[in-house]
């Protein structure tokens, strides 16, 4: 589904990603862990097509197609979704309005008929339950005045509504209390299925208690320094990033 080959990317002339290789197949959950500043958000933004980041080397393939030339919205319509670490506020634009426009733009892309507001209202109400969100959030402006946790839930609501093939979840767990973490994780579990890929970016392993990754990758200074199964996350939790990374460096010598 997603194949990243020797990806180098820079922003404002600074190289942040320094040769990433990663392959996600349909049905797989990949966790990317790493210390602050290691490039986790950058990786997810580059895959989603943020214009400020320049790919200087390497390729990103989505369903076999090199997506380098595609703008963020084109990638989104192909089925790549990014849940933001820091969701953006858009005053005056209602949540349901945004989701309907987004949903319909994706439907148009697939030659499907647009959903009218009434139909969409029914559709979106079904999805609210997934993240146990109050319907009143539909009429509120996108993320405007939402608490940190509400913003994260709203990202997952959008994920549920837009139903992409590949979900990039950037620290969806951060800022959530334990109850919200449970709800959001269970929501993600309901959404994911054998046809979808998930890239779960996280700083802590606690979300992995709820969502079981098939693979765990450790990112450090723009490189994946270690990959393994779900037990790697536990090892990270027990030993800390420094030790893992040091042992990696040790191996390299």
């Amino acid at each position: 589904m997603l194949k990243i080959v020797n990806l180098h990317a820079e922003v404002d002339g600074t190289e942040i990603l320094k040769g990433i290789n990663l392959e996600i197949k349909a049905g797989e959950v990949h966790a990317v862990m790493g210390p602050n500043g290691s490039g986790k958000s950058t990786l997810s933004k580059v895959i989603a097509g943020h214009p400020a980041y320049e790919v200087t080397k390497g390729e990103i393939y989505f369903e076999g197609k090199n997506i380098e030339e595609l703008a963020a919205d084109e990638r989104a319509r192909l089925g790549i979704f990014l849940a933001f670490q820091y969701p953006v506020e858009i005053p005056g634009v209602s949540n349901s309005m945004l989701m309907r426009q987004a949903y319909n733009s994706i439907r148009r892309e697939h030659g499907e008929e647009e959903m009218d507001p009434l139909e969409f209202d029914d559709y979106v109400h079904q999805k609210l339950d997934i993240v146990e969100m109050d319907p009143k959030f539909l009429d509120r402006s996108v993320n405007d005045g939402f608490s940190g946790g509400e913003k994260k839930r709203n990202e997952i609501l959008q994920l549920a509504v837009l139903n992409p093939k590949l979900a990039l979840l950037d620290e969806t767990d951060s800022g959530l209390d334990i109850d919200a973490l449970k709800i959001v994780s269970e929501g993600i579990n309901k959404i994911k299925d054998s046809s979808k890929g998930v890239l779960l970016v996280t700083h802590y392993q606690r979300i992995l208690n709820y969502i079981t990754p098939d693979y765990v990758h450790v990112l450090k200074d723009g490189r994946i320094v270690k990959s393994g199964g779900k037990e790697l996350a536990l090892q990270l939790e027990a030993d800390g990033y420094d030790n893992i990374i040091e042992s990696v460096n040790g191996e390299a010598k």
């Binding site: 943020h50 963020a72 919205d73 989104a76 005056g92 634009v93 994706i106 402006s141 959008q158 837009l162």
Partner: protein
């Protein structure tokens, strides 16, 4: 040869300047003096009181100085180099407005409202003001059936002189400010609306202003009176061709609402704003003020300012009647080298008077956009309340947004709330929407429409649609 005859012979010379609409003009010579004012008054066959009003205003004006406090810059205007009266020789019908500058036509095509269809608008009565004179007023008969008077102010001065005399200059005295004084001296036309007691005006009233003559200033005067229990919604639209010279538009609009009356005044201002380098465009120096004279009356200004090289305009409300309500909803968009200094004054005099100010400024390019507002609470205005929100949005990093709120309260029972914010339409907002599948253009227009939503919902339907399209045209290509 009398002086008038001498001037007449000058006027009848074919005018040599390249006008965009090929019509013959009846122009006065350049310059301003008492004789010109007398000629205007005579040409219009005005009653004596009007001429006196004009001359008094002119003498006032001579003693005044042009204001320098607005946050705008422009070369000194030579008032002796302007033409103060310019009328098409033959009255063109509104549907012959199609000989306008192709660029303007193109813009309107893009808007989906060809100019010649303007008057086909259903259920909207239109007064069309072309340069100095009103050329047509539609639906007059239908309005007369319910007692509503809607005509040009020139006709009103002939047909209803007492009504005009009773109200003109009562809200904006002839010496109010430099441009109002100038207007009071030389105004040439505009609209007059009178809604009698208890009548809800059955259709929207609208004036469509057009400046076509490159050399003339436009000084229009509008007066709207709503008697006890009357209500009216009034729309004002304006365009001008692209000239490399600047044209002066110095209008005065007065609104009077008596007991339980309601006036809603909406403007979509789309004067030519000059080119990318700031050459040409309209100087829009306008005085608009309403008085809530009666108890429980309400005046609401909604403006969408997308044009003009310079905008200087503060639609205000004097809340004299107890429990009266004043509202000001504004979107001001500046792009390229445009400058806008706009806002409102809410003067609370009566008890339990309430005012709301919602101002949204959008600046792009190298433009400068200022909000300037005054909330004044008089001694007797017990329980007066004001709520103000001033938000600015910046597009790019070469433009400026400024907020100048002034508060003067002489009554401790008053409550005044003011909120202000400045945001930047960011790559991150656009990226967020794009990552949901919206293309860049849709993303930008969604963000902007969200920003102006509180104001646009106040506009009548037709105008809201037009204003939305105008916004996207105005800001096209300014993001990214």
């Amino acid at each position: 040869m009398s002086e008038i005859d001498a001037l007449d012979s000058v006027v009848s010379q074919p005018y040599k300047y390249g006008f965009k609409t090929e019509i013959e003009y009846d122009d006065f010579p350049r310059g301003l003096n008492e004789d010109i004012i007398k000629m205007i008054s005579e040409k219009k066959g005005e009653p004596d009181f009007m001429l006196e009003f004009r001359l008094k205003a002119y003498r006032n004006w001579l003693k005044m100085t042009e204001p320098t406090w607005p946050n705008v810059e422009y070369p000194k205007i030579d008032y002796q180099d302007l033409v103060y009266y310019s009328a098409p020789k033959k009255k063109p019908k509104l549907d012959s407005l199609d000989e306008v500058d192709p660029a303007i036509l193109e813009t309107y095509e893009k808007l989906g409202i060809p100019l010649h269809e303007q008057k086909m608008m259903q259920n909207v009565a239109v007064d069309a003001v072309f340069d100095s004179v009103s050329v047509a007023t539609t639906f007059r008969k239908k309005l007369a059936e319910v007692g509503v008077i809607f005509c040009s102010i020139s006709e009103a001065l002939k047909d209803y002189p007492e009504l005009v005399k009773k109200y003109i200059g009562t809200v904006i005295p002839p010496g109010d400010n430099y441009f109002a004084a100038l207007n009071s001296a030389v105004f040439t036309d505009g609209s007059f609306c009178y809604i009698p007691k208890g009548v809800k005006c059955p259709m929207e009233l609208s004036t469509y202003f057009r400046i076509n003559n490159e050399e003339s200033g436009q000084f229009e005067r509008t007066l709207i009176v709503a008697e006890e229990g009357a209500s009216v919604s009034y729309l004002e639209g304006c365009t001008a061709p692209m000239f490399s010279k600047n044209q002066l538009h110095a209008a005065v609009v007065e609104l009077v609402a008596l007991d339980n009356a309601e006036i809603k005044y909406s403007t979509v201002q789309n004067w030519y704003s000059g080119d990318k380098n700031g050459v040409g465009g309209i100087y829009n120096f306008v005085t608009k003020r309403g008085i809530c004279k009666g108890v429980n009356s309400k005046i609401s200004w909604t403006q969408v300012e997308t044009g003009s090289a310079i905008t200087w305009k503060y639609p205000s409300v004097i809340l004299q009647g107890d429990n009266s309500i004043g509202e000001f909803y504004s979107v001001a968009v500046t792009n390229d080298k445009m400058q806008a200094d706009t806002g409102t004054k809410m003067i609370h005099l009566g008890k339990n008077t309430r005012s709301t100010i919602i101002s949204k400024g959008i600046s792009a390019g190298e433009s400068n956009n200022s909000y300037r507002g005054l909330v004044k609470i008089g001694k007797k205005a017990d329980g007066a309340r004001n709520y103000s929100v001033c938000d600015s949005m910046l597009i790019g990093d070469q433009c400026g947004a400024h907020t100048f709120p002034y508060i003067e309260s002489a009554n401790s029972t008053a409550s005044i709330e003011h909120e202000a914010s400045t945001s930047k339409i960011g790559e991150d907002q656009i990226f967020y929407l794009q990552s949901r599948g919206l293309d860049e253009e849709d993303a930008v227009s969604l963000i902007i429409n969200g920003f102006v939503k509180e104001v646009f919902k106040e506009l009548p339907m037709e105008f809201a649609v037009e204003a939305t399209k105008l916004l996207s045209i105005k800001l096209e290509g300014s993001v990214g």
